[in-house]
Amino acid sequence: MTVTLEKETCTTVGKRVPRIDALEKVTGRAIYLDDLKFSDVLYGKILRSPHAHAKIRKIDTSKAKQVPGVVAVVTGRDAPFRGGEAIRDQPFLAIDKVRHVGEAVAAVAAERKDIAARAIKLIEVEYEPLPAVLDVMDAIKPNAPLIHEELHTYPHMAIVTVSPHTNICAKFEFKQGDIEKGFRESDFVFEDTFRFPTGHHCQIEPFGAVVQVSLTGKITIWVANDAPHRLRKDLSDAMGIPFNKLRIISPPYMGGGFGGKGGLKVEPACIALAMHTGGRPVKIILDRQEVFMASLTKHAAVGIVKTGVKKDGTILATHAKLYYDTGAYAEKGPTVTVHGCESGVGPYKVPNTLVEGYTVYTNHPVAGALRGYGLPQSSWAHESMIDMIADKLGIDQIEMRLKNAVEEGSINPTRGDILTSVGMKECIQRAADAIEWNKPRPPNRGVGIACEYKATKTPSGSSAFVKIEQDGTVSVITSAVEVGQGIKTILAQIASEELGIPMERIAVTSPDTDYTPWDASTTASRATFHMGNAVRNAAKDAKTQIFALAAKAFEVNTDDLEISNGIVQVKNGSKKMGLSEVMKGKWKAGLTILGRGTYYPEIEGTMFSARSIFYMYGAQAVDLEVDRHTGKIKVHKVAAAHDVGRAINPTAVEGQIEGGVIMGLGTGIFEEVLYDEKGKMMNPNFRDYRIPTAVDAPKIDSIIVEAFHDEGPFGAKGIGEMTLVSTPTAVGNAIYKATGVRLKELPATPERLLRHIKQKQNHGTSE
């Protein structure tokens, strides 16, 4: 295979190259949104709804407008637009109705932050409270209060099917084989229900935006958004203005995204204000409570799984029903549901499957993408179920998984396509070995495992330019966003490898939609694969142009040429010349070589509708101990094996795994967004919504499995999303081994665990 050859010859790809942004970051010189300074800037503040569901009877802004230093006060009627990636259901500022506590109702721009904060308190809003819907299963009942009466009128993505006059904003079905026949032929059929809690991204950098509306009507937005081009498209759709009247500029760095910093967040209110300030820029930075209540959460979900097996553990049929609580607006909820469903029966050769997914409105804050994209929820259901079945059949959990796991050439159990580049079994085996699966353990200690496969959004496109400067240095120009994952370094490595130019001569830009070409998004673990391919193609194009010049200068064929360490040479070494000299030889007064590259997978369909261009595979095993008296969990070790196709930078891959695992332990053990009976978030801060600290983090064995992908850049696939998908479920499975308690809801807080331990002691069952 060609990729194998490439692995042998790579000089930069596959190496532990230090991140190209590390020095800036450790010295405090890296620039994030709030570090940018603007002349004559105004500060915006948003007034938020205290009600989960209410009609807005009247808004009186007159007192706020009279406050000295206030420049603009806006409500929904001043910017009557609706946005939303999957369904265009979300007003820039509430119009007529509020649908969650924390929803933006009005906004003020003022000369100083304290003036804006004071002014919003003077805005008088008269509400008529409506019954709130605060549970996903209540929301789908026939008589549930409607959250969006006009659902059937909203424009939406091609793959979305709405259920008019209900709270189900999207439903999906994946089906293979004959599910009823599968159950009939099974020796045993198991069924259970699993609940997954609401979570939060907790990016350490808060959300913000700066918007300037020029007097010609051009809107410029500085924002750390994970998809600048998608943001431009969404705003264009919402506002009916052309792409080139919208400019999105990414600050050089984003302080963590995890899927949360996409779509329309602070931008709409900030745009609404900036349309009324006579060209003065408006800056809004959310405080931490607003980040919790009014940016995005991770979907709470209910999963009902029914699985039919033979006595020997062969899975014959799986029927999964997944209900995602998407909150007040659809956001990415429908596509989160698609991916959760696609992986809804797990990475197993199940011949008969039916997965039904429901994206459901409630009066909770908006839920959307959070690392894993619907899979932590579906995994919690089907991977808990696999362990329960193995236990009933008396089969070892690893054996049960290896027996059923997909391998090269297997049929994707939900979509029916043929799987290639499949490292599933190796992941399971290596995670099991690293955690010493069969080692006897003392009482109250146990190991658990969970495994998964995941699609990337397909089809989607990326473009890149590779600019060769007159001095032989290189700029890689793309709209991929450095969210912390290291994409700038990865793209520099790929360009360096393809061009034969050392890393230190390569710079990678940040997105600016006026200058950097289209990229679908830096999400779905797609950047290394899609943008990596685009950059590689652009580098090839640039190289062709360099060779054309050098071939003339050397009087040889282009086929005889190569570039190594930035020197263009005839392959037999007879003639060589620096890149800069090659360019100056032709263009004495100076010119630029511009390589162009695109990547768009050759797969028919609209976004998210098609089989994935690649699938990632992973297995994680957790070794933990439970204190039976306190319910407290001590995690001793996590072994995480992930098939990434090819690790362009192993240190970066390990970093992704380590970060995802700790986030996953947080999800499994203590993170949960809590609401009161009126739908108000009760723990919107780091004291009460505790995320893991250095003390909570155990030893992690990061294991990189490389099942090369034919179409990936140098064989690479992706990693980021996969790294926390299995962790919470592996925790649950380990708790069962340690205590005999089978949790069907998360997180495994000491209170919850203790309650189940006591129940089990008293009644012999934890249910």
């Binding site: 020095l23 405090g28 994030y32 992690i700």
Partner: protein, 163 residues
């Protein structure tokens, strides 16, 4: 509302600073908004995330919790002032680069300042001590593994330099 300002003199990264401080503002506000030292990050404004950690009179503090009027006579070091005379980076910063301890980088300055103040007191710590010392600094990207490695490596390098 009448706000009484207090004239304060203090040093930041060795430079003398003077200003009329308001009790409604924090050291973090002063650093970021008056002195344009934006390397110190604002994550929560409530002393919970540690992103705004600086060294004040030899101790790591959450600068969002220090009231500006308390600054008189104090000595502040921020991430911008950490590198020793004539060097671009401090050994700890170098260790963070080499160990791959940086991802999004937003927690990094605070994390490094906490580690610096800690190593000044405990130059030869165990891994557990490092983890405890860093427990007030939240990181959502790295899982802490490489950060802890970097602090231990940095400690070793600092000790080596002193001998």
């Amino acid at each position: 509302m009448v706000i009484f300002l207090k004239h304060v003199k203090f040093r930041v990264n060795g430079d003398e600073k003077e200003l009329d401080a308001s009790p409604t503002r924090s050291l973090l506000d002063v650093l970021r908004e008056d002195l344009f030292l934006t390397g110190t990050k604002r994550g929560c404004d409530g002393g919970e995330c540690g992103a705004c950690t600086v060294i004040m009179n030899g101790k790591a503090v959450n600068s969002c919790l220090v009231i500006a009027t308390e600054l008189d006579g104090s000595e502040i070091t921020t991430i911008e002032g950490l590198a020793q005379e004539g060097k671009d980076v401090h050994l700890l910063q170098q260790a963070f680069v080499e160990k791959g301890a940086v991802q999004c980088g937003f927690c990094t300055p605070g994390m490094i300042m906490t580690a610096k103040a800690f190593l000044d007191l405990n130059p030869n710590p165990t891994e557990e001590e490092v983890r405890n010392a860093l427990s007030g600094n939240l990181c959502r990207c790295t899982g802490y593994t490489k950060i802890v490695e970097a602090v231990l490596t940095g400690a070793e390098e600092i000790r080596r330099l002193k001998h």
